[in-house]
């Protein structure tokens, strides 16, 4: 029984600040509630409303585009950089550290920094474009619905590619060198050894990294809130920014809690389906 004493403090904290709100959100999601007065039971009303809320539905489209984009600019780019920076020659350790640096910044700092860098008048990107003679490409990047989501996605890559690079780098170091040497003897170029050795050997890591990027993408809030907060014209609205707006700008606590329940179910379903699909059922040929 003494054993329970070891677990109890953690369990109490977890119960009060994670499990209790989790269960009360199930109840609140069936109520009409402004967050202050007493909640009023409305059955499935909030859920029906959610499926007719165009901005809510489009927020899932945006977050899906964003997540697919991050798979390229975070996971794939991170993988490529892990291979590129995998060298013991002088300078490469420093380059890995520099490449990793954005990971430790807060999303707010990264978001504000890039808000400046992408600014129309005094931004870094437009200044560079002008100086290399591409003045016609100058845009108010974050104020155009066509480019805003793309920009946020790329900034997310800037911020997190280093994280995936380190994970892949650590894994690549564990691949025995003899496999690569054998491949070179067999006439394998760098590209085909990447495709036929590195990628298959890193399969488990790639599976996990994609899962991290996908679940992390759904939970993404900070960068969107800092850079665009859903704008322009809701073109970068993702579920989390919409939920927070509904709850705190429009005081529709019951409805927004229903939206969080939907999001939980979506994230849960996507993770479970993904983990089942990627379950190792095939034999890899080297």
């Amino acid at each position: 029984m003494q054993a329970l004493l070891f677990v109890l403090p953690a369990l109490i904290m977890f119960g009060i600040f994670v499990l209790a709100p989790l269960f009360s959100s199930l109840y609140y999601s069936f109520t009409h509630w402004d967050g202050l007065s007493s909640p009023e039971w409305v059955g499935w009303h909030n859920y029906k409303r959610a499926f007719n809320d165009d901005i809510h539905l489009s927020s899932y489209v945006h977050v899906s585009i964003y997540i697919l984009g991050t798979l390229v600019v975070e996971v794939f780019f991170g993988l490529v950089m892990a291979v590129l920076l995998n060298s013991d020659r002088i300078g490469f350790k420093l380059m890995r550290t520099l490449f990793f640096t954005p990971v430790i910044l807060s999303m707010v700092s990264a978001g504000l920094l890039w808000k400046f860098a992408l600014d129309y008048n005094y931004g870094l990107l437009n200044a560079i474009l002008k100086s290399i003679g591409l003045g016609s490409f100058v845009q108010p990047w974050l104020s155009l619905p066509e480019t805003a989501l793309l920009c946020v996605t790329i900034i997310s890559g800037w911020k997190y590619a280093g994280f995936f690079m380190i994970i892949f780098f650590t894994a690549i170091r564990r691949i025995p060198n003899s496999i690569y040497e054998a491949a070179i003897i067999d006439g394998c170029g760098p590209l085909s050894s990447f495709m036929h050795i590195t990628i298959p050997m890193l399969r488990e890591n790639i599976v996990i990294c994609i899962l991290i990027a996908v679940t992390g993408g759904f939970a993404g809030f900070d960068l969107f809130y800092t850079m665009t907060n859903g704008g322009p014209y809701n073109s970068t609205e993702i579920p989390t920014t919409w939920i927070i707006k509904m709850a705190f700008d429009r005081n529709q606590m019951g409805y927004s809690i229903a939206l969080t329940v939907i999001m939980t179910l979506v994230v849960g379903a996507v993770s479970i389906i993904y983990l089942n699909v990627t379950k190792r059922k095939d034999v890899i040929d080297y």
């Binding site: 029984m1 003494q2 054993a3 329970l4 070891f6 677990v7 403090p9 953690a10 369990l11 904290m13 977890f14 009060i16 600040f17 994670v18 709100p21 989790l22 009360s24 959100s25 609140y28 590129l84 550290t97 490449f99 990793f100 640096t101 954005p102 430790i104 910044l105 807060s106 999303m107 707010v108 700092s109 504000l112 920094l113 400046f116 860098a117 005094y122 870094l124 437009n126 200044a127 560079i128 100086s131 800037w158 590619a161 994280f163 994970i167 650590t170 890591n205 990294c209 679940t215 939970a219 809030f221 800092t226 989390t240 939920i243 606590m253 329940v261 999001m263 939980t264 849960g268 993770s271």
Partner: protein, 281 residues
């Protein structure tokens, strides 16, 4: 391959290309940070005229202004206090629990462990709104505890999960010997097991500290008094108040990031290990 080691031979083109491509990408990615720092020393006019170029002269007064106007000292103190206290609570409670999950037998052990695993899979946003209401009823809003309690509770799941895995890799024999020799359970934990997991504890402290230091959503919603904010939400508010005063915001950005960057370069080995540890396994 020639056997003579000539230090000054011309490197092969593929190596030059490798260096050139790597360095271009890495420097391109790091440049915005450098740009941020030197832009804080430019006047508003200079920023507007030539966003790209270096400042005409090095001015440090913007840093001073941002520090004073942005209440940066207070923000730093708040962030330090909240992060430090939360990390201490998490690591202590998680260590106790992870020890029990890995080493002790008690009814319902695996079920309780699965309950914590739920926390690993949930996005934090899910409970933010009901938590807001709950904290208001507990009269904790606008106090540091409105962040410390939720932060440490959320971090418990991952910390317990990783520490338990670490406990499992350690040999049981030493603990069993101590126990047979008459040490109490708690004594065994404190003097035998705890010192053995010290490296994992340090990793967990670093990992949690970085995550909590950077947390935005809860600190934005649960703290409304500007003087009680943490760095991320305080910085965002500062931007809201001064968003046309570019050099001031650049300076505030630099003030809030440069110390962290220096800390990172000094302790990078541990930090990278800590962040990677959370995702491997």
């Amino acid at each position: 391959m020639s056997l003579t080691t000539n230090r000054f031979r011309i490197p092969p083109p593929s190596l030059i290309l490798h260096y050139w491509v790597s360095a271009t990408i890495v420097l391109g990615m790091a440049f915005p940070l450098v740009w941020m720092i030197y832009s804080s020393m430019k006047t508003k006019k200079e920023i507007f005229r030539t966003p790209f170029s270096f400042p005409g002269e090095l001015r440090f007064e913007h840093f001073y202004n941002a520090w004073v106007k942005g209440n940066m000292g207070t923000l730093y103190f708040n962030s330090l206090f909240i992060t430090g206290t939360s990390v201490a609570i998490v690591v202590l409670l998680a260590c106790l629990a992870a020890f029990a999950f890995a080493r002790l037998q008690f009814p319902g052990r695996d079920y309780i462990f699965y309950v914590f695993i739920i926390g690993l899979l949930l996005p934090q946003q899910v409970v933010v709104l009901p938590l807001f209401v709950q904290l208001r009823e507990m009269d904790l809003l606008d106090t540091p505890w409105a962040l410390i309690f939720p932060y440490s509770s959320w971090a418990l799941a991952l910390t317990i999960y990783l520490l338990r895995a670490f406990f499992m890799t350690l040999p049981k024999e030493v603990e069993e010997a101590a126990f047979i020799d008459g040490a109490s359970l708690f004594r065994t934990f404190w003097s035998i097991s705890l010192p053995m997991v010290k490296p994992a504890l340090i990793t967990m402290c670093i990992l949690n500290a970085i995550n909590l230091w950077n947390e935005l959503l809860l600190s934005l919603l649960f703290i409304l008094d500007d003087s009680k904010r943490t760095l991320p939400s305080g910085l965002l508010k500062f931007y809201g108040y001064h968003n046309v005063n570019y050099s001031l915001v650049f300076s505030a950005l630099s003030i809030s990031t440069v110390p962290i960057l220096i800390l990172f370069f000094l302790t990078q080995k541990h930090i990278i290990k800590g962040l990677a540890a959370a995702r491997i396994d």
